[in-house]
């Protein structure tokens, strides 16, 4: 008994040490963002701020288009995620549970389109967007993001789908359910952790994407956080460190909060699944 309690404490300590080490840059960012500019480059650096100020956050929110960028990023990432997860889930279902010719080839092709670096794709893509009248719009970004998130999502969901036992679906079909009905009632719930994790990484991918946003979009009213904040605060000769740290904290914290909220879905075990702890 005592041994497993000690074991438990050790595991906790080890885990939390690792977690804190990994998250150290975040802590550093938060600490720096509340330091006044005069304390930024103190040598030797101060671990805790001598004075705490929220002026950088205030400046960011009131003097810059930060909130506009934020809104654009939320719209962009959410729409992309919904698109990608919807298309990917149906596609994964098709690839795993149906038989038709060219199934494997399709899967390979989808991944194949993924192998070229974005740098080379970007100009033809931009020209195409101009040609169809979508340049400088959020829609062009949604399309661009969908195309590079989709292969990833498809393959990931495919592997989760393969982990769902066939028997359950067969049982439902025997009971007279249609394929789509079985999909909705039996498979989706089983797939939920997979869908949530795919949705999460798609959201992050879109939220942090920089290169496509850089080229496809110019106006402040449409720019997402990545390019908006970066081009505003970083130029060749100067970096506005304090504002940048405040902006970075504000860009990351919502994601952390959303994820903490979605935790329960990721961890819900159901049916035959066993949740350890």
């Amino acid at each position: 008994m005592q041994r497993s309690m000690l074991q438990g404490v050790i595991v906790n300590l080890v885990t939390w040490t690792l977690v804190l080490l990994i998250a150290f840059p975040l802590l550093w960012m938060i600490i720096t963002s509340v330091k006044p500019q005069t304390e930024l480059f103190r040598i030797p650096p101060t671990w805790f701020p001598e004075t705490i100020t929220f002026e950088h956050y205030w400046r960011l929110l009131t003097e810059t288009p930060f909130l506009t960028y934020f809104r654009n990023s939320v719209v962009l990432a959410t729409t992309t995620t919904i698109f990608v997860v919807a298309l990917g889930t149906l596609g994964a279902y098709s690839l795993v549970r149906f038989k038709y010719r060219g199934r494997e080839t399709l899967a390979m092709l989808v991944l194949f389109t993924y192998l070229l670096p974005s740098v080379v794709l970007i100009i033809p893509l931009y020209l195409m967007m101009v040609a169809i009248g979508l340049s400088n719009t959020l829609v062009s970004l949604i399309l661009a993001h969908t195309t590079f998130a989709l292969p990833y999502a498809l393959w990931l969901l495919r592997s989760f789908m393969e982990g769902v036992p066939e028997d359950l679906e067969s049982a439902a079909l025997v009971d007279g359910a249609s394929r789509m009905g079985a999909f909705r009632d039996i498979i989706l719930p089983q797939l939920l952790p997979g869908i949530i994790s795919t949705a999460l990484f798609t959201f992050i991918l879109s939220w942090n994407e920089y290169l496509y946003a850089l080229v496809l979009v110019n106006s402040d009213s449409v720019a997402p956080l990545t390019t908006g904040v970066m081009s505003m605060l970083i130029s060749a000769f100067n970096i506005e460190w304090s504002l940048l740290m405040a902006a970075s904290v504000m860009m990351s914290l919502p994601l952390i909060v959303v994820f903490a909220f979605l935790q329960s879905y990721l961890t819900s075990g159901f049916g035959a699944g066993g949740v350890k702890g």
Partner: protein
């Protein structure tokens, strides 16, 4: 119409992607409808810090007040983004009306490819004698025609000095030659303070600074006729000097770029610095304790025989040839120099972006700024130096404009030269030979 014609393969030069786009989608391209009265001008710039944005808004508001039927929209780009964005814009014909703050070699590139509208008319509107002497020579790429003009100057390689440390070390004059500089940094280094924050990383700062050092040794990268002339004794001297300075720089200098170099001086860790007037604002904000003890000067050269060489990337204004509403675009470009708005723009980065117009330098409204007043001697020095500055695109008054300067810098060949010889101790002759070959390749492409 905004599309380029689709030429047949028999012609040696043709617009490849425009051909693709045109073949695929010309029919679907939306026509730009404009009401007779309402015009919208698009203004692109990669510089959009919060203070600069505020200045731009003032300029836009003032201009719109004077021209009821014109609306101006500011669209930001960035130092990494402008190249692909403009490439796509030029190819599709969907170009902005006015572009500001791009370095002069970018302008040279676009001009030699026939993409820009001659700027003579705009300069006339501003008033040609208001400019500093020779400030526009770098833009006179084809004789008699100006590709653009500068919107602000930056003296990028000024030497910044800590007067308190100099006093302590018994140095009573700003160093003028390399020997003086080496002895000064040696005396000032110690007690946690380093002599200088020179960059040795594989980045553009190293390239640009070292090009300056070559000139400070009396050498050049290309000869006036643009043949490559980097394999000289002067370059070898420059490399030796740069190597000698290495021990007076912090250990991390092997990866220093603009940000680290600036902060090394501003934070007080280095006795000298190498930067633009940006130092002034940053010291005021981040380390006011040394604000009374800093000054700047022209960077030392090899000997008193060699004239100082100031690096200025000449942030520019230009108008793409395909821009719609050319008349209004030109008026707007000229309006950017209107004192009220221009001064506010300059005040957004005092000392860093310097006026190109003498009249503005002398304008009491311009001088009515804390930093400019406190460091008026330094600002005046920088303004003069920058106006007479050069860069790889234009290495001296005798040189022809070098449209490949951007590519040479971006290829990293100069930064590699520094790293290989100074850090890796490779054989100078061999490396210089290879560098020459690579630069020749770039020039020929």
């Amino acid at each position: 119409m905004h599309s380029k014609p689709f030429k047949t393969p028999a012609l040696p030069r043709r617009t490849v992607l425009a051909g693709l786009a045109a073949a695929g989608a010309t029919a679907a391209m939306p026509m730009r409808l404009r009401a007779q009265e309402q015009i919208t001008l698009r203004w692109w710039s990669p510089q959009s810090s919060p203070e600069q944005l505020a200045a731009y808004q003032t300029q836009i508001a003032n201009f719109e007040a004077q021209h009821e039927n014109i609306k101006v929209v500011f669209e930001k780009t960035s130092d990494e983004g402008y190249a692909p964005q403009l490439a796509a814009a030029f190819a599709s014909g969907d170009v902005p009306n006015v572009v500001t703050h791009l370095p002069s070699f970018a302008v040279a590139t676009y001009w030699t490819n026939g993409l820009l509208e001659p700027f003579n008319g705009v300069i006339d509107m501003i008033g040609p004698d208001k400019f500093y002497q020779g400030a526009n020579d770098i833009y006179e790429i084809d004789p008699g025609q100006y590709a653009g003009t500068g919107i602000g100057n930056s003296a990028a390689n000024m030497i910044w000095l800590r007067t308190d440390l100099m006093e302590q070390a018994g140095i009573d004059q700003n160093p003028r030659t390399w020997d003086e500089l080496l002895s000064a940094v040696q005396k000032m280094q110690g007690g946690g303070i380093y002599g200088a924050p020179l960059p040795y990383g594989r980045n553009s700062m190293t390239s640009l600074v070292f090009i300056g050092v070559i000139h400070q040794a009396g050498g050049q990268v290309c000869a006036p006729d643009l043949s490559v002339n980097i394999d000289t004794d002067a370059t070898r001297d420059a490399l030796e000097f740069y190597r000698a300075m290495r021990e007076f720089c912090p250990p991390g200098a092997t990866n220093y770029s603009w940000g680290e170099s600036l902060t090394a001086f501003v934070s007080g860790a280095c006795a000298t610095g190498l930067y633009t007037g940006r130092v002034l604002t940053n010291v005021a904000n981040q380390n006011p304790s040394i604000a009374d003890h800093i000054t700047c000067d022209l960077y030392p050269t090899k000997s008193t025989d060699v004239a100082p060489w100031t690096f200025n990337d000449f942030p520019s204004v230009f108008i793409p040839k395909q821009a719609p509403n050319m008349e209004a675009s030109k008026q707007f470009a000229a309006f950017l120099f209107d004192p009220e708005g221009y001064i506010q723009q300059l005040h957004a980065a005092p000392g860093h972006v310097l006026p190109v117009l003498k009249t503005i330098s002398n304008d009491p409204d311009y001088q009515d700024n804390e930093i400019i007043q406190k460091y008026s001697a330094e600002v005046e020095l920088m303004s003069e130096a920058a106006a007479n500055g050069f860069n790889l695109g234009w290495e001296s008054r005798d040189h022809m404009p070098n449209a490949k300067a951007g590519e040479i810098v971006n290829s990293g060949v100069i930064a590699e030269l520094v790293q290989r010889v100074v850090l890796n101790d490779e054989n100078v002759d061999q490396v210089l030979g290879e560098t020459t070959a690579r630069i020749e390749e770039i020039m020929a492409s």
